[in-house]
């Protein structure tokens, strides 16, 4: 009986795999009764995916079956069968294949809704500003968010797709009030450079309305495109940041109060958790790199960076709690890196700038060359800080999601038996990745802090000239 859990775990895995597969098969059966048809638009796009779901969940089609499908402007060629025959409904056709990449990207992205296990969807305040239409302030449950964080209702011309707010660009879509719409579709087209580009559409009243590219503040560098509106919402990531900041505030306040009230008592409770880390950062990072004399000036910054990153890393790894990917988001790490950049360069002394622009101790003809390299280094240092943190945390999340995806990949291939075997493989691999990620959470917070300390130390170092 001591080893019963070794037997129970595989049995548990088999049951979970079988039930997940049964659910996905039920979804597929539903789809088969609806219809399958080919959809011809006469455009140049390569292939269409309609109502793309991940092929692994039962779908609720009740909201898809009420629009005037026959009045669509497009020519619906193809065959159809089943009880909805003849409707020509693009929302009926689903990709049956599980899409690991799309699922992973969807789960590591920011969202305008905080959903836990697809059961609880916490609406978040949404602040949208369009130069032409002005401010829109509302809670995101106006979108009637459903499966895969797709909305079922438009609000003043905005819709929610995969957790993000989009604006409809095709004229004719109602720009005022709430209107129920159908599913989302997407097409892959070639742009002028020959690259594949995915354009999303929303179905409303049997017609397709094109959506704007996703809102990004990067000016379109990362492929998001420039939108006609700005999204200042309290998104999932922002909410996580606020929560983590609050938790840290209360933890440190209670610890500080305990130290104040009983200065000579041995640490108790939360002090035992915070004190070793605090002393480690002070004694192993701040003092050796910055120096005894000046470290107190930079200690608050280092501690804030360390505990903020650590808290967010750990918050994102709690299973079934939204799995937010805040420190894996380039925008957050960009802000942290910009702060470090300004702190380092504004506290740099004469020697630091001399070493950057006119390196002493090397032949004169090398000095301009080194100035170029060092000048680039000024920007590359914070850039690598930004990329390292985001890359590591996102990579960990993607690895875990891929291992969980094994269940559905095997299920697609071999049915119920396959998804059971997939679950048997996936559970230990996921546990292993979670353990690795726990180490990575601490190591990456530590690395960010130690590199910040070393950059500051290099900037304020007093050189002794002979």
């Amino acid at each position: 009986m001591r080893y019963i859990h070794y037997i129970l775990l595989p049995v548990f895995c088999l049951l979970i795999g079988a039930s997940l597969n049964a659910q996905s098969k039920k979804g597929v059966e539903d789809l088969k009764t609806i219809q399958q048809h080919k959809f011809d638009h006469g455009d140049e796009h390569d292939h269409d995916h309609h109502g793309h779901d991940h092929g692994s969940h039962g779908h609720d089609h009740s909201s898809h079956d009420h629009s005037g499908h026959k009045h669509g402007s497009h020519d619906h060629a193809g065959h159809s069968h089943g009880k909805h025959a003849g409707h020509g409904d693009p929302c009926g056709h689903h990709d049956e294949k599980y899409d690991p990449t799309g699922t992973a990207i969807h789960h590591i992205s920011d969202a305008n809704v905080y959903s836990i296990l697809e059961l609880v969807r916490i609406p978040l305040p949404t602040f949208l500003y369009a130069p032409k239409a002005g401010w829109e302030v509302f809670m995101s449950n106006k979108f009637k968010i459903g499966h895969h964080e797709d909305g079922h209702m438009s609000h003043n011309g905005y819709v929610m797709h995969h957790g993000s707010v989009y604006r409809v660009v095709t004229p004719g879509f109602p720009l005022e009030g709430n209107h129920e719409h159908d599913c989302f579709t997407h097409k892959t087209v070639k742009d002028e450079k020959g690259k594949d580009k995915v354009i999303d559409y929303v179905m409303y009243g049997g017609k397709e309305y094109q959506l704007e590219a996703r809102s990004t503040f990067d000016g379109g560098i990362l492929g998001g495109g420039i939108t006609s509106f700005y999204d200042f919402s309290i998104s999932k990531n922002v909410l996580s940041m606020m929560l983590v900041a609050l938790i840290l505030f209360f933890l440190f306040r209670s610890a500080a109060r305990a130290y104040k009230q009983h200065p000579n008592r041995a640490p108790k409770g939360i002090q035992n958790f915070l004190e070793p880390m605090f002393l480690f950062i002070r004694d192993e990072v701040a003092i050796p790199f910055i120096g005894e004399k000046k470290y107190m000036k930079y200690l608050p910054l280092l501690m804030s960076i360390f505990f903020f990153i650590l808290g967010l890393n750990l918050w994102g790894q709690v299973p079934f709690l939204g799995s937010t990917n805040v420190t894996g988001n380039l925008t957050l790490t960009l802000v942290l890196a910009v702060i470090v950049f300004f702190v380092v360069n504004l506290s740099g002394n004469k020697d630091y700038w001399k070493h950057v622009f006119w390196m002493p101790g090397v032949p004169t003809f090398v000095k301009p060359l080194l100035a170029v390299v060092e000048g680039m280094g000024l920007f590359i240092k914070p850039l690598t800080l930004m990329l390292r943190l985001a890359g590591n945390i996102s990579a960990g999340h993607i690895a875990i999601l891929s291992f969980i995806g094994l269940i559905f990949i095997f299920g697609d291939l071999y049915g119920t038996m396959g998804s059971s075997i997939g679950t048997l493989l996936s559970v230990p691999l996921t546990l292993f990745m979670l353990a690795i990620e726990l180490i990575v959470a601490f190591v990456q917070a530590f690395v960010f802090t130690i590199l910040t300390a070393s950059y500051i130390g290099a900037a304020i170092e007093e050189h002794e000239h002979h």
Binding site: T384, L385, R388, G391, I450
Partner: protein, 68 residues
């Protein structure tokens, strides 16, 4: 085609980073075995160096993602 090339590039950069971090880890083990009392200093220096290598590899990987 460019996607395939980018994947190969990312793979090559990971090989380089793997060799570098492996050498750092091996040398750090040697150093700790030789001077166990300095293990704390060696460990933080090891992590710092590994972070630098990782930064170079990450730049390569992200470039290959954006170029693809």
């Amino acid at each position: 085609m460019t996607g395939t090339l980018a994947a190969i590039g990312a793979g090559i950069s990971v090989i380089g980073a793997g060799i570098g971090i492996g050498m750092i880890g091996g040398k750090a083990m040697d150093a700790i075995a030789r001077q166990p009392e300095a293990s704390g200093d060696i460990r933080s220096a090891m992590i710092l160096m590994a972070a630098f290598i990782e930064g170079a590899a990450l730049i390569a990987i992200l470039l290959s993602i954006f170029m693809s």
